[in-house]
Every structure is written in C-alpha cells, then in structure tokens.
C-alpha cells in the first residue's frame, strides 16, 4: 500500500452545488490522500451522490473549489476530468444492457484514448479481479445478474486505469454475500494497485470497516469525520446508521 503523502490527491473546499433552487451541497470540505479508501456515508438525500457528481463536473459547483493533484478542476468539462484519470461508477450500475460485456469494458477505456497495450493490460486486470466477467465477455450486459452487473460497472470504470475511483453505492440491491465480494475486490484494488477510492454508501457498517477514513454527511454538510474505526465506535453513528433507527 502506498503511504498517504503530505498533500492530498483530492481537496474539496467549501463546495456548494444546487439543483435549481434546492441547495444540495452547502459548503463541503473533504480530503482524499493518495492510496486511501475514503467512505462517505449518510442518509438518503444527504447529498452524497451530488458531491460525487459535482467532483465529476455535473452538476457544476456554484461556489468553492475542487483540486486534483493541486490543479483546480472546478470548471473543467466532465470529459476532460475523465482524462485526468478520475473514474466513476454511477449509482444503479448503469451498464449498457444491449452491448456485450466486452464492449461495455471497452467503453470505459474509450474516453481516455487508451492505447491497445493499455486496453489489454486493463482488461487483464479487470478479468483477474472479476473472473466471472471472463465467462460472460460475449454476453449482453443486460443478461447479467445484479452482482455481475456491479462487477461490470466497476470493471468498466477501471478500464480507464484511474488513479482515483469513485463508487456510488456499489452494494445497492445486492445480496450480502455478493456485496462482500465487491468490497473485497475494492480492498484488493487498494492494497495491490495502490488505487485511491472514494466510496459513497448507505451500508455504513461495511463501508466504514473497509475505509481508512470516513465522512458523515447530513443535509448537504459534513458533520463528522475520522478514521473508519473511530466512526464505527461513535454512539451517534451507531444510533443513526448501524442500529436500524434511521433519522432524516
């Protein structure tokens, strides 16, 4: 594992974003260092997905700044952000159902103008990580099971050989056993490849166990942050996200 360096890879500073008049992010600060897994947890509508999408440039930030490797990417077009090797696996997987698994994976590499060698290496990595996809390469994406589709969505994001991978609810709608496989794969990626990961989750227990650090978001603001283990011990976290009773 790469040791977290001094300057964070991604710095989010008092970021604000809104959908029309509804403000979804009300000044968010967040840091991710290289080689870290950072979990972002919070209830429905807290603004977790919005934060992730705003980092990716859609919707645009109203105020504040996003720095990647010290470079301001707040106003960089979405397709340019992908070229900086930030990859995203959107909520609900969103694979291309009528295209084959192999084509889905190639789509991930298309945006970054990958060479044939890079594509082959990326494909190799994805298929060793998710051997199941190897059996399904020529199958249509829509015929895969939910877990396989999630693997495909992550694999597709990995095809651009990202430095920062952002995952939106990778365990959504998956059986616990499959969800654990997905989390295991993320841990492997982080340990073996030194991949930096931002993971947005409602499944706080899983996410905080996996992550080095975590942030808790409520109503468009970060209310708590700390290491994964610390957050798991906090009584308010246990009450809100781990022991059933879910508040606003």
């Amino acid at each position: 594992m790469t040791a977290p360096s001094a300057a964070p890879m991604l710095e989010v500073r008092s970021l604000r974003a809104a959908y029309g008049k509804i403000e979804a992010l009300k000044g968010v600060d967040l840091d991710i260092s290289a080689g870290e897994i950072v979990a972002l947890i919070g209830a429905n509508g807290a603004g977790k997905s919005t934060l992730m999408m705003t980092i990716f440039g859609k919707p645009r930030a109203r105020a504040g700044s996003i720095l990647f490797d010290g470079r301001d990417i707040t106003d960089v077009p979405t397709h340019e952000i992908a070229r900086l090797r930030i990859a995203q696996s959107p909520e609900g997987r969103r694979i291309f159902p009528r295209m084959s698994v192999a084509e889905n994976l190639q789509m991930g590499a298309d945006a970054t103008d990958s060479s044939e060698v890079d594509r082959a290496a990326g494909l190799e990595r994805v298929l060793t990580l998710f051997p199941r996809l190897k059996e399904r390469l020529s199958q249509r994406g829509g015929t895969l099971s939910g877990g396989e589709q999630q693997m495909l969505a992550i694999g597709r994001a990995l095809m651009s050989r990202p430095r920062l991978l952002m995952l939106d609810e990778p365990s959504l709608g998956l059986a616990p056993l499959i969800a654990r496989q997905i989390f295991d794969a993320i841990r492997t990626l982080n340990r073996q490849d030194g991949l930096t990961v931002l993971i947005v989750e409602q499944n706080a227990n899983h996410a905080l166990r996996l992550a080095h650090r975590g942030y808790v978001m409520v109503n468009g603001l970060i209310t708590l942050s700390g290491t994964g283990a610390e957050l798991l011990q906090r009584p308010e976290i246990r009450a809100a996200y781990l022991e059933g009773g879910r508040r606003g």
């Binding site: 990716f56 859609k58 077009p77 979405t78 397709h79 952000i81 992908a82 070229r83 990859a87 995203q88 696996s89 959107p90 969103r94 694979i95 291309f96 159902p97 009528r98 295209m99 084959s100 192999a102 084509e103 190639q106 789509m107 991930g108 298309d110 945006a111 970054t112 998710f130 051997p131 199941r132 190897k134 059996e135 390469l137 020529s138 597709r156 994001a157 651009s160 056993l177 499959i178 496989q181 295991d184």
Partner: protein, 441 residues
C-alpha cells in the same frame, strides 16, 4: 384481445372450442358495428346535388365473415405457436440449416443485386424499381446511424435529402459544376445542416427531439417553397444535368461513352450506370457504418442510445458524439439527395414531404434498429411491396398497415433484432472449472 383467464395450467394452455368461438364472435360483432356504416351503406352526391345511397350488405357480410374466420385462424395459430417466451425445441439439423441460411442471405442478396442489370437488362421497369429500392436502402442506412445506432429519433431526415438534392441541382445548373464535384459538396452541406440541427436539440430526447426534428424537416421544405429566387419555389429546378461516366457523358454523340467504346448507343446504358452508382453509394454507406461501429465513436453512439448518464460518467463527450451522429447520417442523406436530383433531372419541394421521412424511419424501425441487413430487407419489402400492390391502389395502405401491425406483434425489435457485437476476443476463452471456482462463487 383478452388473455385466457389464469386457471389450471392445462386449461390456460389450451382454451377450448367455446373460448375460441366466443372470441371470434366478439371480433365479428365489433367488425359489424364498425363496418355497417363504413361498408354497409354507400352515399354519394347525385347529379343534382341530392343524396343518393345504396346498401352493400353482401360486402358487409363478407367482411364480418372474414373477421370471424380470421379470428379463429389467429387463435389457432397462437395456440400452435404457444405462449410468448415458449422455448420450442427445434431439431439441431434444422437449426444448423437455418443458421447457414441466415449467414448466406447477405452475400446472396449482394450478388443478386450486382446481377440485376444483367438479368433484367431489357426490363426498364425492374431497373427503375431497383434504383428506387437502392435509394431507400441508402437512406435507411444513413438514418440508421442517427436512429438505430445513436438512438436519436429523427423525424425530419428528408430535410438532408432535400439539402443534398438542391445542392447538386443549384450548383450544377448555376455554376455548371459536374456531378462528381457536387457529390462531396452535397454531403458536406447536408452534414453542416445536420450539425446545425444538432446544436439546439442537444438536450432533447425522445418525443421532444422527434417534434423538433419534424419541425426542422418542415422548415427546410417551406424555405425551399418560399425562396423563389433561389430555388424556383413550387416550380422546382429542372434541366439538372445527368451524371457523366467520370467526365464522359452518356449521350448518343461522338464524345459519348457508347461511341468511345464502339458500341451502339442505348438509353439503358444510363439506367444501368445509375443502378451501379446508387449501389456503390449505398455500399459505401454500409461500409463506413460498419467501420465506424468498431471504432470508439461508433461504440459511443451505441452507448449513448443505451444510457446517456452512464456515458457522461465514463467521460464520453456527449456533445460531439451526438453532433457526429447527426452529421454522419445527414451526409449520407445528402449523397442520396444528389443522386436523386441527377436521376430525376427535375426536383421540386413535393418530393421532400414528411411522408418520405416517415417512410425511411419505418424502414429503419421495421428492419430492426441498428441492423444493416434488416434495413436493406425492410427497404426491399416496403418499396417492392408498394409496387406490388400498385394494382390494388385503394387497399395498398391497408395491406401496408396490416403488415406493420403483424410485424410489431411477432418481431417487436424489427425483422432482424439481433445486434452483432463489435468487440471480438482474440483468443478463445475456454474457462476451466478451476478458474470459475477461483471466481469466488
């Protein structure tokens, strides 16, 4: 049609005679109500303006009987066919024969098309029909890029056809430019208009996109009608030069192709030449589309059709992707338009009505969105079918509509709904059970 009531499995699988008759009776009753006024009574204005009418109960009875009988036949067919999703066991030998036939159909069709002018050399009608069909094949393939691949519903495709046709007509009649110079120009101009249409509709999808493209088609037509000084308005442009064989005219004179080759002049030469010209243009469209589909841009078009949000999440530039789809489709429409102008020698706004757009769109949808062979087959059946039923003029649309309904019931994804993958594996992926086990489940 109501589905059989869910009962015991046996009963629901095979509804009895009573059920079939009940259903047929209901259908016949509906037919009786519908047709009693439409067919049963015929009214006309008499010589002095008074109303004269007569009854045609014989025809009405025949119609109702047909519906009754047809309903029984349909129900029997459905039972024989089994419920939707039934896995029918087809003998492997038949399956392999079918697979061979399916693979052979495209090459056979292509070879036959190449031989059409040889086989039907003396039959001008067939050659003309062939040219017409090929024009629609080309238009279908062009629109297929926009609708079939990129999933952008375009109801104004005829606009680009018109732009191409008028580009050639005006450039050749005003500046004396030759067909071969104008052909690329027509394509470029049409592509330019494609991009121009693309910009305002970047954010639109589905129905809204359809409405704007429909309006765009009408705008182009209305501009052509009203800009009399340039386009000649409703009178159109006439005296459009015929294409030359790369500079050598196809005329009876001394400098004509026939004289140079030392053969006797015949007007058929020009028809045959036009046939091969449109065939070449259509094949070019097909080849370019197939090539593009294997490149990232073609893949991006298809991904855009599947899920625009996912495309953006992958960092695909959706703006350029959409604009290139519009431009590419429009360019082929422009080529086809230029060909149309040179074949007809005369064009007017009447040739570029919404009906043309609808026809080409129907070809793409019936053919199976995105399938090249399907589009060609659909163009052949639709345009050929129109000609076939020319004799039964008033029933033509009826048959056409019926065919469409039947196709949408039995093949909702179009004639050839299967989508061929574009990424192939270089080495065969024989997965050992070991690997599968390694896959943690």
């Amino acid at each position: 049609m109501t589905a059989p009531a869910p009962g015991p499995v046996q009963a629901s699988r095979l509804p009895g005679v009573a059920f079939i008759f009940k259903k047929a009776l209901i259908s016949a009753l509906v037919a009786l109500v519908l047709f009693s006024l439409m067919i049963g009574i015929r009214t006309e204005a008499g010589p002095t303006g008074q109303l004269i009418y007569w009854t045609r109960f014989g025809d009405l009875a025949a119609m109702v009987a047909t519906v009754f009988g047809g309903s029984i036949v349909v129900e029997l067919l459905r039972q024989w066919w089994g419920p939707v999703g039934t896995v029918r066991i087809v003998p492997p030998s038949v399956q392999s024969t079918l697979a061979v036939a399916r693979r052979a159909i495209a090459p056979i069709l292509l070879i036959f098309t190449f031989l059409v002018p040889v086989i039907f050399y003396d039959q001008r009608y067939i050659l003309d029909l062939g040219i017409l069909v090929l024009t629609y094949v080309m238009l279908g393939w062009g629109l297929n890029v926009v609708v079939g691949l990129a999933g952008l519903l375009d109801l104004g495709y005829v606009a680009f056809y018109a732009v191409g046709a008028y580009s050639y007509a005006l450039l050749s009649t005003n500046f004396g430019l030759s067909f071969w110079v104008c052909l690329p120009l027509a394509g470029i101009l049409a592509a330019f208009w494609g991009v121009l249409l693309g910009f305002p509709v970047l954010r639109l999808r589905g129905d809204y996109l359809a409405i704007v493209t429909l309006a765009f088609g009408e705008i182009i037509r209305l501009v052509i009608i009203n800009w009399q000084s340039l386009t000649g308005g409703p009178n159109g442009v006439s005296g459009i030069p015929r294409p030359s064989f790369f500079g050598i005219p196809l005329t009876p004179g001394d400098d004509g192709l026939a004289a140079k080759l030392g053969i006797e002049f015949s007007t058929t030469h020009r028809i045959v030449f036009l046939f091969y010209l449109i065939l070449a243009l259509a094949l070019l469209t097909n080849w370019v589309t197939i090539r593009l589909r294997r490149l990232p841009i073609g893949r991006a078009w298809e991904a855009l059709r599947e899920d625009e949000v996912a495309c953006r999440a992958l960092g695909i530039n959706t703006t350029t992707t959409k604009l290139t789809a519009f431009a590419t489709g429009a360019m082929f429409g422009g080529f086809a338009g230029a060909f149309f102008a040179t074949r007809q020698g005369f064009i007017s706004p009447e040739s570029f009505t919404f009906q043309e757009s609808a026809l080409v769109l129907a070809i793409v949808v019936l053919g199976g969105m995105g399938s090249q062979l399907g589009v060609a087959l659909a163009a052949l059946t639709m345009i050929g079918g129109f000609e076939l039923f020319r004799g039964f003029d008033q029933y033509r649309m009826l048959v056409f509509g019926l065919a469409m309904v039947l196709l949408m019931i039995w093949r909702p994804r179009g004639l050839i709904g299967h989508r061929a993958p574009t990424v192939f594996l270089r080495h065969s992926q024989a997965i050992s059970s070991e690997l599968a086990r390694e896959g943690r489940g």
